[in-house]
Symmetry: C2
């Protein structure tokens, strides 16, 4: 049985000034337990493409993924240009489904397939604003996901019914769920509803003892959804 | 009467390896004519926040804007964190309206207002994929724009009816229209329909003589919509 640590993705979006060396040491401890990393644009702006590549080299050695979360939402030519800079530096990239397939996600997907990089599409988000537009366009967003056939889909842990409906509609896809911890969802909220990975950020990275915080998340997950 | 060059924003998203020094020289020639710059994520990944700041210092001297086009589409806390890295390096930033207001654009708008940076929201995009989801959610996207009250809105030159409907709904807002040149719209298509700025990318930057290409765009604009 695969370790339950494999179900956790740690989001490294911290904005405080901490050296890349320290972050790499921390990443190594998350990844040696089996967990994965998600790096956002704040990380990229601080440490550059090279920083992402260094994190990938640390975590790849443990068979862990580095998921590049730029939440790309541009035309296909631009998304492909952006993703190309991270070839060999990330296992997966996140883009928004709502930009559509034609001259959009198709271009990105074709390039990623060629480079052996996974595509993850955002179906819904974890914040209240997601209810204002995104939630009302869910069916059309699902159609774009269906056409694009990504490796994974992002659906918020804060709304387990959305997770369940993505799971029902796309049984073949991996579901990644943000919103656990600081945003209010509890460890297990998403995985018990059918998600494959829970994404935890500040609850772990802002903790005085981040590795212990990860251990606590995993314990709670085991307790609630079984190991 | 303000120069018609002021109505043109040159998009610098080129992916070929050209030094920042060369780009700054080129930017200076666009900006001394009165035009503005739009810098996307490919530029940022290549030249960093510092590169954006250097372009801003070149163009600011001519009263031209540097518009940072990251097409942000994240939760408010992350968008604010990203934008904070460009304080003093950009006149405006572009984000997607579809992420919603609550815990989304509100957080970003409040921060930008404090920093004196303009917010531009994407209402619709210039590629065919925009018809798959975005176009069907237009009314809800308009509601988010209405609540957020941005300085500007992006509406595609490739679809003048969208430009006209944004203009009718938000007479107080500046309209920025991409899609002129390589994507098929002609200079004037958007401005004749009520847009304030046309965004031109590859037609100018990939030209063997970029400054002359800008001059041609302006001539065509004058001819079609008057000077």
């Amino acid at each position: 049985m695969e370790s339950i640590y494999r179900r956790i993705v740690v989001a490294v979006d911290r904005d405080d000034e901490v050296g890349l060396y320290t972050l790499k040491q921390l990443a190594e401890r998350f990844c040696e337990r089996g967990s994965h990393l998600k790096l956002g644009l704040p990380f990229v702006l601080e440490y550059g493409v090279r920083g992402v590549r260094e994190m990938f080299s640390v975590c790849g050695d443990h068979g862990s993924m580095v998921i590049l979360d730029l939440k790309m939402a541009d035309i296909g030519a631009i998304m492909r240009m952006i993703a190309s800079k991270f070839r060999g530096a990330a296992s997966a990239v996140i883009a928004h489904a709502f930009v559509g397939y034609n001259s959009g996600l198709r271009d990105l997907k074709e390039a990623l397939d060629e480079w052996g990089v996974k595509l993850v599409l955002v179906a819904s988000m974890s914040h209240p604003g997601s209810r204002e537009v995104l939630d009302h366009c869910m069916e059309r967003i699902f159609e774009v996901i269906d056409r694009t056939r990504p490796w994974g889909v992002v659906a918020p842990a804060t709304r387990p019914t959305v997770v369940a409906s993505v799971k029902a509609r796309f049984p073949y896809v991996r579901i990644l769920s943000p919103g656990v911890g600081a945003q209010g969802a509890k460890p297990g909220d998403a995985i018990c509803s059918g998600a494959d990975y829970e994404i935890v950020g500040r609850y772990i990275t802002k903790s005085p003892e981040p590795v212990k915080a990860l251990d606590r998340v995993v314990e709670e997950l085991k307790r609630r959804c079984g190991g």
